[in-house]
Symmetry: C2
DNA sequence: GGATGTGAATAGGTTCACAGCG
DNA sequence: CGCTGTGAACCTATTCACATCC
Protein backbone atom coordinates (compact mmCIF):
# COMPACT_ATOMS: atom_id res chain seq x y z
CA UNK A 1 0.00 0.00 0.00
CA UNK A 2 1.76 3.13 -1.21
CA UNK A 3 1.61 6.15 1.00
CA UNK A 4 0.21 8.90 -1.18
CA UNK A 5 0.35 11.58 1.44
CA UNK A 6 3.69 12.52 -0.09
CA UNK A 7 4.25 16.26 0.04
CA UNK A 8 3.29 18.05 -3.14
CA UNK A 9 6.73 19.36 -3.98
CA UNK A 10 8.14 16.58 -6.12
CA UNK A 11 11.24 15.92 -4.09
CA UNK A 12 13.83 14.50 -6.42
CA UNK A 13 15.02 10.99 -5.77
CA UNK A 14 18.55 10.24 -6.85
CA UNK A 15 20.37 6.96 -6.47
CA UNK A 16 23.70 6.46 -4.80
CA UNK A 17 25.52 6.27 -8.11
CA UNK A 18 23.83 9.42 -9.37
CA UNK A 19 24.94 11.40 -6.30
CA UNK A 20 28.53 10.37 -6.95
CA UNK A 21 28.37 11.55 -10.54
CA UNK A 22 26.69 14.81 -9.60
CA UNK A 23 29.65 15.52 -7.34
CA UNK A 24 31.86 14.85 -10.34
CA UNK A 25 29.85 17.08 -12.65
CA UNK A 26 30.07 19.84 -10.09
CA UNK A 27 33.83 19.67 -10.05
CA UNK A 28 34.07 19.68 -13.82
CA UNK A 29 31.58 22.50 -14.17
CA UNK A 30 33.81 24.61 -11.97
CA UNK A 31 36.55 24.11 -14.53
CA UNK A 32 34.24 24.88 -17.42
CA UNK A 33 33.09 28.01 -15.64
CA UNK A 34 36.67 29.06 -14.90
CA UNK A 35 37.34 28.79 -18.62
CA UNK A 36 34.60 31.36 -19.10
CA UNK A 37 32.25 29.17 -21.08
CA UNK A 38 28.66 30.17 -20.30
CA UNK A 39 27.02 27.05 -21.77
CA UNK A 40 27.83 23.32 -21.89
CA UNK A 41 26.31 20.39 -23.73
CA UNK A 42 25.71 17.06 -22.06
CA UNK A 43 28.26 15.44 -24.32
CA UNK A 44 30.93 17.86 -23.14
CA UNK A 45 30.25 17.14 -19.49
CA UNK A 46 30.18 13.46 -20.37
CA UNK A 47 33.59 13.59 -22.02
CA UNK A 48 35.13 15.36 -19.04
CA UNK A 49 33.71 12.84 -16.59
CA UNK A 50 34.14 9.67 -18.60
CA UNK A 51 30.44 8.82 -18.85
CA UNK A 52 27.85 8.82 -21.64
CA UNK A 53 25.81 11.88 -22.61
CA UNK A 54 22.57 10.04 -21.92
CA UNK A 55 23.79 9.33 -18.43
CA UNK A 56 24.45 13.00 -17.82
CA UNK A 57 21.00 14.01 -19.02
CA UNK A 58 19.38 11.29 -16.91
CA UNK A 59 21.28 12.44 -13.82
CA UNK A 60 20.41 16.08 -14.36
CA UNK A 61 16.80 15.07 -14.86
CA UNK A 62 16.85 13.61 -11.38
CA UNK A 63 17.66 16.95 -9.81
CA UNK A 64 15.06 18.63 -11.99
CA UNK A 65 17.31 20.97 -13.92
CA UNK A 66 16.44 21.62 -17.56
CA UNK A 67 18.69 22.92 -20.29
CA UNK A 68 17.88 24.57 -23.57
CA UNK A 69 17.75 22.28 -26.60
CA UNK A 70 20.02 24.41 -28.70
CA UNK A 71 22.40 26.01 -26.26
CA UNK A 72 22.75 23.17 -23.78
CA UNK A 73 23.02 23.95 -20.08
CA UNK A 74 23.76 27.31 -18.50
CA UNK A 75 27.04 26.60 -16.73
CA UNK A 76 26.53 28.83 -13.72
CA UNK A 77 22.89 27.95 -13.24
CA UNK A 78 23.58 24.23 -13.47
CA UNK A 79 26.47 24.50 -11.07
CA UNK A 80 24.33 26.37 -8.62
CA UNK A 81 21.57 23.83 -9.06
CA UNK A 82 23.83 20.90 -8.28
CA UNK A 83 25.37 22.62 -5.28
CA UNK A 84 21.95 23.49 -4.02
CA UNK A 85 20.98 19.86 -4.31
CA UNK A 86 24.10 18.30 -2.86
CA UNK A 87 25.06 20.70 -0.12
CA UNK A 88 23.55 21.75 3.14
CA UNK A 89 23.11 25.53 3.02
CA UNK A 90 24.43 25.83 6.57
CA UNK A 91 27.46 23.68 5.86
CA UNK A 92 28.26 20.40 7.57
CA UNK A 93 30.92 19.68 10.15
CA UNK A 94 33.03 16.55 9.89
CA UNK A 95 35.10 14.65 12.43
CA UNK A 96 38.05 12.40 11.70
CA UNK A 97 39.08 9.57 14.01
CA UNK A 98 42.53 8.03 13.75
CA UNK A 99 45.35 10.48 13.10
CA UNK A 100 47.86 8.01 11.66
CA UNK A 101 49.51 8.27 8.27
CA UNK A 102 46.29 7.88 6.39
CA UNK A 103 44.34 10.12 8.74
CA UNK A 104 46.86 12.92 8.35
CA UNK A 105 46.84 12.57 4.59
CA UNK A 106 43.05 12.76 4.52
CA UNK A 107 43.13 15.79 6.81
CA UNK A 108 45.62 17.50 4.54
CA UNK A 109 43.48 16.59 1.56
CA UNK A 110 40.32 18.18 2.91
CA UNK A 111 41.60 20.99 5.08
CA UNK A 112 40.43 24.39 4.00
CA UNK A 113 39.42 23.03 0.63
CA UNK A 114 35.65 23.19 0.81
CA UNK A 115 33.71 25.71 2.87
CA UNK A 116 30.48 23.73 2.94
CA UNK A 117 32.06 20.61 4.37
CA UNK A 118 34.92 21.06 6.79
CA UNK A 119 36.77 18.73 9.11
CA UNK A 120 36.58 20.53 12.44
CA UNK A 121 37.80 17.91 14.89
CA UNK A 122 40.23 15.01 14.96
CA UNK A 123 40.46 12.23 17.52
CA UNK A 124 43.27 9.87 18.43
CA UNK A 125 44.23 7.82 21.46
CA UNK A 126 47.89 8.81 21.29
CA UNK A 127 48.38 11.35 24.12
CA UNK A 128 51.23 12.97 22.18
CA UNK A 129 48.68 14.29 19.69
CA UNK A 130 46.16 15.66 22.14
CA UNK A 131 45.50 19.36 22.35
CA UNK A 132 47.70 19.89 19.35
CA UNK A 133 46.39 21.45 16.20
CA UNK A 134 47.20 19.13 13.32
CA UNK A 135 46.70 20.53 9.85
CA UNK A 136 44.39 23.20 11.11
CA UNK A 137 42.36 20.76 13.10
CA UNK A 138 42.24 20.38 16.87
CA UNK A 139 43.04 16.87 18.08
CA UNK A 140 41.19 15.36 21.04
CA UNK A 141 41.43 12.08 22.95
CA UNK A 142 38.86 9.45 22.03
CA UNK A 143 36.82 9.94 25.18
CA UNK A 144 36.04 13.47 24.05
CA UNK A 145 34.08 12.19 21.06
CA UNK A 146 30.70 12.51 22.70
CA UNK A 147 30.94 16.13 23.93
CA UNK A 148 32.83 17.50 20.93
CA UNK A 149 30.59 15.87 18.35
CA UNK A 150 27.51 17.12 20.16
CA UNK A 151 28.89 20.61 20.68
CA UNK A 152 29.85 21.09 17.04
CA UNK A 153 26.79 19.28 15.74
CA UNK A 154 28.96 16.92 13.73
CA UNK A 155 26.97 14.47 11.65
CA UNK A 156 29.67 13.06 9.38
CA UNK A 157 32.64 11.00 10.48
CA UNK A 158 35.78 9.75 8.77
CA UNK A 159 37.20 6.52 10.16
CA UNK A 160 40.93 6.00 9.69
CA UNK A 161 41.51 3.71 12.64
CA UNK A 162 42.77 0.10 12.59
CA UNK A 163 40.16 -2.52 11.79
CA UNK A 164 40.21 -3.77 15.36
CA UNK A 165 38.99 -0.42 16.69
CA UNK A 166 36.59 0.51 13.91
CA UNK A 167 33.36 -0.99 15.20
CA UNK A 168 33.72 0.49 18.67
CA UNK A 169 34.68 3.95 17.46
CA UNK A 170 31.88 3.93 14.90
CA UNK A 171 29.36 3.10 17.60
CA UNK A 172 30.60 5.94 19.74
CA UNK A 173 30.32 8.39 16.88
CA UNK A 174 26.82 7.24 16.08
CA UNK A 175 25.90 7.44 19.74
CA UNK A 176 26.98 11.07 19.68
CA UNK A 177 24.80 11.88 16.69
CA UNK A 178 26.84 11.02 13.60
CA UNK A 179 24.73 9.52 10.81
CA UNK A 180 27.19 9.31 7.93
CA UNK A 181 30.54 7.55 7.92
CA UNK A 182 33.40 7.37 5.48
CA UNK A 183 35.08 4.16 6.56
CA UNK A 184 38.66 3.35 5.61
CA UNK A 185 38.94 0.45 8.02
CA UNK A 186 38.86 -2.88 6.20
CA UNK A 187 35.85 -4.10 8.11
CA UNK A 188 32.11 -4.36 7.66
CA UNK A 189 30.56 -2.06 10.23
CA UNK A 190 27.39 -3.15 11.97
CA UNK A 191 25.39 -0.01 12.68
CA UNK A 192 21.82 1.25 12.99
CA UNK A 193 19.97 1.51 9.71
CA UNK A 194 19.76 5.28 9.73
CA UNK A 195 23.54 5.54 9.40
CA UNK A 196 24.93 5.80 5.90
CA UNK A 197 28.31 4.13 5.50
CA UNK A 198 30.61 4.61 2.54
CA UNK A 199 33.48 2.13 2.53
CA UNK A 200 36.87 2.79 0.97
CA UNK A 201 38.91 -0.37 1.10
CA UNK A 202 42.38 0.39 -0.20
CA UNK A 203 43.67 -3.16 -0.07
CA UNK A 204 40.62 -4.41 -1.92
CA UNK A 205 40.96 -1.76 -4.61
CA UNK A 206 44.61 -2.56 -5.17
CA UNK A 207 43.87 -6.25 -5.40
CA UNK A 208 41.16 -5.56 -7.95
CA UNK A 209 43.53 -3.55 -10.10
CA UNK A 210 46.20 -6.23 -9.82
CA UNK A 211 43.71 -8.90 -10.80
CA UNK A 212 42.36 -7.13 -13.86
CA UNK A 213 45.79 -6.01 -14.98
CA UNK A 214 46.65 -9.68 -15.33
CA UNK A 215 43.55 -10.41 -17.36
CA UNK A 216 44.01 -7.61 -19.83
CA UNK A 217 45.55 -8.53 -23.15
CA UNK A 218 48.82 -6.83 -23.86
CA UNK A 219 48.68 -3.94 -26.34
CA UNK A 220 48.33 -5.42 -29.79
CA UNK A 221 48.88 -2.50 -32.14
CA UNK A 222 50.53 0.88 -31.78
CA UNK A 223 47.22 2.65 -32.36
CA UNK A 224 45.02 1.41 -29.56
CA UNK A 225 41.46 2.48 -29.13
CA UNK A 226 40.92 4.88 -26.30
CA UNK A 227 38.60 4.23 -23.38
CA UNK A 228 35.79 6.53 -22.38
CA UNK A 229 32.82 7.71 -24.37
CA UNK B 1 29.33 -14.47 -34.46
CA UNK B 2 30.55 -16.06 -31.24
CA UNK B 3 34.04 -17.51 -31.23
CA UNK B 4 33.60 -21.11 -30.11
CA UNK B 5 37.26 -21.99 -30.21
CA UNK B 6 37.28 -21.22 -26.52
CA UNK B 7 39.65 -23.50 -24.64
CA UNK B 8 37.96 -26.47 -23.02
CA UNK B 9 38.86 -25.62 -19.45
CA UNK B 10 35.91 -23.56 -18.34
CA UNK B 11 37.78 -20.44 -17.33
CA UNK B 12 35.74 -18.73 -14.67
CA UNK B 13 34.33 -15.33 -15.47
CA UNK B 14 33.85 -13.07 -12.48
CA UNK B 15 32.51 -9.55 -12.55
CA UNK B 16 34.22 -6.51 -11.13
CA UNK B 17 32.00 -6.52 -8.05
CA UNK B 18 32.62 -10.21 -7.47
CA UNK B 19 36.40 -9.73 -7.52
CA UNK B 20 36.09 -7.06 -4.86
CA UNK B 21 34.06 -9.32 -2.62
CA UNK B 22 36.42 -12.25 -3.13
CA UNK B 23 39.21 -10.05 -1.85
CA UNK B 24 37.04 -9.37 1.18
CA UNK B 25 36.21 -13.03 1.74
CA UNK B 26 39.90 -13.84 1.58
CA UNK B 27 40.67 -11.37 4.34
CA UNK B 28 37.88 -12.67 6.55
CA UNK B 29 38.81 -16.29 5.91
CA UNK B 30 42.27 -15.53 7.23
CA UNK B 31 40.65 -14.48 10.47
CA UNK B 32 38.42 -17.55 10.56
CA UNK B 33 41.44 -19.73 9.93
CA UNK B 34 43.44 -17.97 12.64
CA UNK B 35 40.61 -18.79 15.02
CA UNK B 36 41.22 -22.42 14.20
CA UNK B 37 37.85 -23.11 12.63
CA UNK B 38 38.26 -25.72 9.88
CA UNK B 39 34.87 -25.14 8.25
CA UNK B 40 32.64 -22.13 7.52
CA UNK B 41 29.12 -21.73 6.23
CA UNK B 42 28.19 -19.17 3.63
CA UNK B 43 26.05 -17.34 6.15
CA UNK B 44 29.03 -16.92 8.45
CA UNK B 45 31.20 -15.44 5.72
CA UNK B 46 28.25 -13.27 4.74
CA UNK B 47 27.84 -11.91 8.25
CA UNK B 48 31.53 -11.03 8.49
CA UNK B 49 31.50 -9.23 5.15
CA UNK B 50 28.11 -7.55 5.35
CA UNK B 51 26.57 -9.34 2.37
CA UNK B 52 23.89 -12.00 1.90
CA UNK B 53 24.61 -15.74 2.04
CA UNK B 54 23.26 -16.19 -1.47
CA UNK B 55 25.73 -13.61 -2.69
CA UNK B 56 28.60 -15.50 -1.13
CA UNK B 57 27.55 -18.78 -2.72
CA UNK B 58 27.11 -17.08 -6.09
CA UNK B 59 30.57 -15.55 -5.87
CA UNK B 60 32.21 -18.81 -4.86
CA UNK B 61 30.41 -20.52 -7.70
CA UNK B 62 32.14 -18.16 -10.08
CA UNK B 63 35.57 -19.36 -9.02
CA UNK B 64 34.39 -22.95 -9.20
CA UNK B 65 34.88 -23.91 -5.57
CA UNK B 66 32.37 -26.29 -4.04
CA UNK B 67 31.59 -26.84 -0.40
CA UNK B 68 29.95 -29.72 1.34
CA UNK B 69 26.21 -29.40 1.98
CA UNK B 70 26.45 -30.27 5.63
CA UNK B 71 29.81 -28.97 6.74
CA UNK B 72 30.00 -25.86 4.62
CA UNK B 73 33.35 -24.84 3.14
CA UNK B 74 36.77 -26.08 4.14
CA UNK B 75 38.40 -22.89 5.40
CA UNK B 76 41.93 -23.60 4.25
CA UNK B 77 40.94 -25.03 0.91
CA UNK B 78 38.63 -22.14 0.14
CA UNK B 79 41.26 -19.63 1.17
CA UNK B 80 43.78 -21.30 -1.05
CA UNK B 81 41.26 -21.40 -3.87
CA UNK B 82 40.55 -17.69 -3.70
CA UNK B 83 44.22 -16.78 -3.47
CA UNK B 84 44.96 -19.01 -6.39
CA UNK B 85 42.27 -17.23 -8.36
CA UNK B 86 43.11 -13.66 -7.36
CA UNK B 87 46.87 -13.68 -7.20
CA UNK B 88 49.64 -14.11 -9.67
CA UNK B 89 51.80 -17.02 -8.50
CA UNK B 90 54.97 -15.06 -9.31
CA UNK B 91 53.79 -11.99 -7.46
CA UNK B 92 53.22 -8.58 -9.01
CA UNK B 93 55.29 -5.45 -8.66
CA UNK B 94 53.63 -2.10 -8.13
CA UNK B 95 54.83 1.46 -8.66
CA UNK B 96 53.53 4.55 -6.91
CA UNK B 97 53.74 8.01 -8.44
CA UNK B 98 53.37 11.11 -6.31
CA UNK B 99 55.01 10.94 -2.89
CA UNK B 100 52.94 13.62 -1.16
CA UNK B 101 50.89 13.18 1.99
CA UNK B 102 48.53 10.73 0.40
CA UNK B 103 51.28 8.89 -1.46
CA UNK B 104 53.26 8.38 1.72
CA UNK B 105 50.21 7.17 3.57
CA UNK B 106 49.45 4.66 0.83
CA UNK B 107 53.06 3.51 0.82
CA UNK B 108 52.95 3.00 4.58
CA UNK B 109 49.67 1.16 4.21
CA UNK B 110 50.98 -1.36 1.70
CA UNK B 111 54.65 -1.65 2.58
CA UNK B 112 55.70 -5.14 3.53
CA UNK B 113 52.11 -6.12 4.10
CA UNK B 114 51.49 -8.49 1.24
CA UNK B 115 54.14 -10.65 -0.37
CA UNK B 116 52.24 -11.27 -3.60
CA UNK B 117 51.76 -7.59 -4.35
CA UNK B 118 54.51 -5.20 -3.32
CA UNK B 119 55.23 -1.57 -4.06
CA UNK B 120 58.81 -1.66 -5.30
CA UNK B 121 59.29 1.85 -6.69
CA UNK B 122 58.09 5.37 -6.01
CA UNK B 123 58.35 8.39 -8.27
CA UNK B 124 58.19 12.09 -7.54
CA UNK B 125 59.42 15.22 -9.24
CA UNK B 126 60.71 16.75 -6.01
CA UNK B 127 64.53 16.39 -6.17
CA UNK B 128 64.69 16.32 -2.36
CA UNK B 129 63.06 12.89 -2.45
CA UNK B 130 65.21 11.30 -5.14
CA UNK B 131 67.52 8.45 -4.34
CA UNK B 132 66.07 8.29 -0.89
CA UNK B 133 64.40 5.22 0.43
CA UNK B 134 60.95 6.21 1.69
CA UNK B 135 59.10 3.60 3.69
CA UNK B 136 61.19 0.82 2.30
CA UNK B 137 60.73 2.01 -1.23
CA UNK B 138 63.29 3.65 -3.48
CA UNK B 139 62.21 7.02 -4.86
CA UNK B 140 63.11 8.04 -8.41
CA UNK B 141 62.56 11.15 -10.51
CA UNK B 142 59.66 11.00 -12.95
CA UNK B 143 61.88 10.61 -16.00
CA UNK B 144 63.06 7.29 -14.63
CA UNK B 145 59.57 5.79 -14.98
CA UNK B 146 60.25 4.11 -18.28
CA UNK B 147 63.48 2.26 -17.39
CA UNK B 148 62.48 1.34 -13.83
CA UNK B 149 59.03 0.08 -14.75
CA UNK B 150 60.49 -1.99 -17.55
CA UNK B 151 63.36 -3.34 -15.48
CA UNK B 152 61.13 -4.45 -12.62
CA UNK B 153 58.34 -5.60 -14.91
CA UNK B 154 55.85 -3.41 -13.11
CA UNK B 155 52.31 -3.76 -14.42
CA UNK B 156 50.34 -1.99 -11.72
CA UNK B 157 50.55 1.70 -10.86
CA UNK B 158 49.18 3.84 -8.06
CA UNK B 159 48.54 7.46 -8.96
CA UNK B 160 48.68 9.95 -6.11
CA UNK B 161 49.61 13.02 -8.12
CA UNK B 162 47.63 16.25 -8.53
CA UNK B 163 44.81 16.12 -11.07
CA UNK B 164 46.74 18.38 -13.42
CA UNK B 165 49.56 15.84 -13.77
CA UNK B 166 47.48 12.65 -13.73
CA UNK B 167 46.82 12.17 -17.44
CA UNK B 168 50.44 12.69 -18.46
CA UNK B 169 51.88 10.46 -15.77
CA UNK B 170 49.32 7.77 -16.51
CA UNK B 171 50.29 7.80 -20.17
CA UNK B 172 53.95 7.44 -19.28
CA UNK B 173 53.23 4.49 -17.02
CA UNK B 174 51.14 2.80 -19.69
CA UNK B 175 53.83 3.48 -22.27
CA UNK B 176 56.27 1.65 -20.03
CA UNK B 177 54.03 -1.40 -19.76
CA UNK B 178 51.63 -0.72 -16.90
CA UNK B 179 48.14 -2.06 -17.57
CA UNK B 180 46.38 -1.51 -14.24
CA UNK B 181 46.02 1.78 -12.39
CA UNK B 182 44.70 2.75 -8.98
CA UNK B 183 43.88 6.40 -9.54
CA UNK B 184 43.46 8.81 -6.64
CA UNK B 185 43.54 11.89 -8.84
CA UNK B 186 40.07 13.44 -9.18
CA UNK B 187 40.08 13.12 -12.94
CA UNK B 188 38.78 10.82 -15.64
CA UNK B 189 41.80 9.26 -17.29
CA UNK B 190 41.73 8.69 -21.02
CA UNK B 191 43.76 5.58 -21.69
CA UNK B 192 43.98 2.63 -24.07
CA UNK B 193 41.27 0.04 -23.60
CA UNK B 194 43.60 -2.66 -22.35
CA UNK B 195 44.34 -0.62 -19.24
CA UNK B 196 42.17 -1.26 -16.20
CA UNK B 197 41.58 1.82 -14.08
CA UNK B 198 40.15 1.79 -10.59
CA UNK B 199 39.23 5.26 -9.35
CA UNK B 200 39.21 6.31 -5.73
CA UNK B 201 37.79 9.79 -5.46
CA UNK B 202 38.06 10.93 -1.87
CA UNK B 203 36.24 14.21 -2.31
CA UNK B 204 33.38 12.48 -4.09
CA UNK B 205 33.08 9.84 -1.40
CA UNK B 206 32.98 12.41 1.36
CA UNK B 207 30.35 14.41 -0.49
CA UNK B 208 28.24 11.30 -0.91
CA UNK B 209 28.39 10.55 2.79
CA UNK B 210 27.54 14.14 3.63
CA UNK B 211 24.59 14.07 1.26
CA UNK B 212 23.09 10.85 2.54
CA UNK B 213 23.69 11.76 6.15
CA UNK B 214 21.36 14.70 5.60
CA UNK B 215 18.66 12.50 4.12
CA UNK B 216 18.67 9.93 6.86
CA UNK B 217 15.98 10.26 9.48
CA UNK B 218 17.27 10.77 12.97
CA UNK B 219 17.11 7.74 15.26
CA UNK B 220 13.53 7.25 16.37
CA UNK B 221 13.74 4.69 19.12
CA UNK B 222 16.47 3.57 21.46
CA UNK B 223 16.44 0.07 19.99
CA UNK B 224 17.24 0.61 16.36
CA UNK B 225 17.41 -2.15 13.84
CA UNK B 226 20.88 -3.07 12.76
CA UNK B 227 22.15 -2.96 9.17
CA UNK B 228 23.66 -5.90 7.39
CA UNK B 229 22.24 -9.31 6.59
C1' DG C 1 20.48 20.36 -37.72
C1' DG C 2 21.66 19.27 -33.39
C1' DA C 3 20.43 19.57 -28.82
C1' DT C 4 17.36 18.16 -24.78
C1' DG C 5 13.98 15.09 -22.12
C1' DT C 6 12.23 10.70 -21.60
C1' DG C 7 9.54 6.13 -22.42
C1' DA C 8 11.05 1.74 -23.66
C1' DA C 9 14.52 -1.76 -24.17
C1' DT C 10 18.59 -3.73 -22.46
C1' DA C 11 22.13 -5.21 -19.48
C1' DG C 12 23.82 -6.45 -15.11
C1' DG C 13 23.76 -7.76 -10.55
C1' DT C 14 21.19 -9.52 -6.52
C1' DT C 15 17.90 -12.23 -4.30
C1' DC C 16 14.48 -15.92 -4.21
C1' DA C 17 13.31 -20.37 -3.81
C1' DC C 18 13.85 -24.90 -4.32
C1' DA C 19 16.07 -29.39 -5.82
C1' DG C 20 19.55 -32.33 -4.04
C1' DC C 21 22.53 -34.09 -0.80
C1' DG C 22 24.87 -35.71 3.37
C1' DC D 1 16.89 -31.19 9.08
C1' DG D 2 20.06 -27.34 7.22
C1' DC D 3 23.27 -26.70 4.14
C1' DT D 4 24.98 -26.02 -0.88
C1' DG D 5 24.36 -25.01 -5.92
C1' DT D 6 21.64 -22.81 -9.21
C1' DG D 7 17.69 -21.64 -12.57
C1' DA D 8 14.49 -18.09 -12.54
C1' DA D 9 12.55 -13.83 -10.90
C1' DC D 10 13.48 -9.50 -9.58
C1' DC D 11 15.25 -5.02 -9.27
C1' DT D 12 18.32 -1.39 -10.48
C1' DA D 13 21.13 1.21 -13.65
C1' DT D 14 22.36 2.27 -18.18
C1' DT D 15 21.63 2.91 -22.93
C1' DC D 16 18.75 3.42 -26.99
C1' DA D 17 15.89 5.88 -29.76
C1' DC D 18 12.86 9.18 -30.83
C1' DA D 19 9.46 13.05 -30.11
C1' DT D 20 10.22 17.79 -29.31
C1' DC D 21 12.09 22.27 -29.41
C1' DC D 22 15.04 26.30 -30.64
Amino acid sequence: MPDDRTPNLKLPTASDRTIGRLSLYRRMLNIVKAEGRPYVYSHQIAALCGVTPAQVRRDLMSIGYSGSPNRGYDTSELLWSIEDFLYDPKGQNVALVGVGNLGRAILAYFTGRRPRLSVVAAFDNDPAKHSRVILGCRCYPLDQIEPVVRAQEIRVGILTVPASAAQLVAERLVEAGVCGLLNFAPMALRLPLHVHVEDIDLAMSLEKVAFFSRRRSRPVAATDKVAGS
